[in-house]
Amino acid sequence: MKRNVLSLFSRIRFFDVRGRLLLLPPIADASTTFAPIHSFCEKRSALINLHTRHLLSQIVSILFHLLYADVKFTNRNIAREKFVVNLTNRTENFANRCLYLFGLTRVTYGRQLSINQLKKSWSDKFGKPTLFRFRAVDSGTFALGGLVSMKAIGILSVISIAILACGDDESGLQNSPPVIDHVVLNEPVEPGASVELQVVAHDADGDALSYVWEAKEGKLDSSIGRVVKWTAPTNAKSAIVVVGVNDGVNESAVKSKKISINLENSAPVIKSIVVPD
């Protein structure tokens, strides 16, 4: 899977327990730490360190906000894309009695991303990573946010947020084609009657599906849409309509449906073949 450059911007803000913004965030060299990271997906991981060099004598909430801008995928096959966010507490002088609350409280990526788990508390064991996974469903801009509430007594707190395994994991390239279950209509159809044709299809990845209809016999009022109107021919006992369903990734699934038409018509009869002597 190839991607275009992905830019990573980060912002970090500190709040007190009442949620008030600390005007002087106890953070040093934020600019260097949170410089945009380009093409991190190609490196397959990015490490962002939140350094808090100030002595924290009170409970401080750190709201970090990683903004991924312009995530563009040249391959649209990303429905199973997985980003693994690996959060590691590397706070030095870490006191056990300190409270850590960490969660990916808000992850947006165009629309809400699915998160496999929402960590309400973070491992207090030093250095043990806590994994959050979320799935990207489309290209676009998304943001990953987290909240760390901590009371640290020490001179240096480091929270590492590593983004690992961006993209290709074992299932990263897989996207299932849509499956057409059936074409629904009321049969038999009277000759010349206008009926509604409906296709029932599903897609394992939940991709948005598009529908295209084709009819050699009869007439479709529209060739696109999950439900279309079709006028039966007046001179046939059956007609075939074909519907294609596309998920924007795979080849279209195609199903043809033979529709019975309630036409009363007698078959021709060959009485004889005259071969003159």
């Binding site: 001179n235 046939a236 006992k237 036409l263 018509n265 007698s266 078959a267 021709p268 009869v269 060959i270 009485k271 004889s272 073949i273 005259v274 071969v275 003159p276 002597d277």
Partner: protein
């Protein structure tokens, strides 16, 4: 089971009698096992019967575009080809293009200028523009006239069909029917060995007079008497 008989190489107009209760427009598809079909997807089509004798099948499929197609076959018996004085022999008409001869019989076994011949006992001359001018039927060809006269037929039967020859030559061996366009060669036993089809000539060719014919008849009288006596 009686089957329709057709003459080998004959040009036949096939016709279908069909019915459709709804008056739908029907499409016709003719198929033949042998012979040449001029494909016309109508209720009538032209068919040239094969030159080989035997049985052959004609199949017609009729479709009204709605129902299952109707299919019917006719088995046809191909019998000996026809000899028509002044007109045709073995499926070839005087005036036909040589292409038709080739289509029916293939490449001639013998060819020399305007002359062509087949080992099946068909030969002929082409005119200056490649059209068949005259035809010869000889052994082993089975072509027969309307009355069934062909190679091996007796003079008496031939005369019964065509009347007395207008000119008899070579000691009674060559009997010309100028006005009907046919001439027969006979062997010593007065059996036909060769039939020659040509364009009828209204009068005898120059030099030919009825008197001569009479003389020739008289000259061969003895042989003819002998022949009729054996009947």
């Amino acid at each position: 089971m009686s089957r329709t008989k057709v003459h080998a190489g004959a040009r036949i107009q096939l016709r279908a009698i069909t019915d459709d209760a709804d008056g739908d427009t029907l499409t016709y598809n003719w198929e033949v096992e042998a012979g040449i079909l001029n494909p016309e997807n109508t209720s009538e089509t032209k068919w040239t019967a094969p030159v080989d004798m035997g049985f052959t099948k004609i199949t017609l499929t009729v479709d009204d575009g709605i129902n299952e197609v109707a299919v019917k076959s006719a088995e046809v018996r191909v019998i000996h080809s026809l000899i028509v004085a002044g007109q045709e022999a073995a499926g070839i008409r005087l005036g036909d293009e040589f292409d038709r001869v080739r289509t029916l019989y293939g490449k001639p076994d013998g060819r020399n200028g305007d002359w062509f011949s087949y080992d099946t006992g068909l030969s002929g001359f082409l005119d200056g523009i490649g059209l068949v001018d005259s035809l010869f039927i000889s052994k082993p060809n089975t072509a027969k006239t309307a009355d069934g006269n062909g190679i091996g037929s007796a003079l008496k039967r031939v005369d019964g069909e065509f009347g007395p020859a207008e000119e008899i030559k070579e000691g009674g061996k060559k009997h010309w029917h100028w006005k009907t366009g046919i001439h027969f060669d006979y062997d010593a036993a007065f059996k036909v060995t060769n039939v020659h089809i040509f364009k009828p000539i209204g009068a005898a060719p120059s030099g030919f007079v009825d008197a001569i014919q009479q003389q020739q008849v008289l000259r061969n009288k003895a042989a003819l008497h002998k022949y009729y006596a054996e009947e």
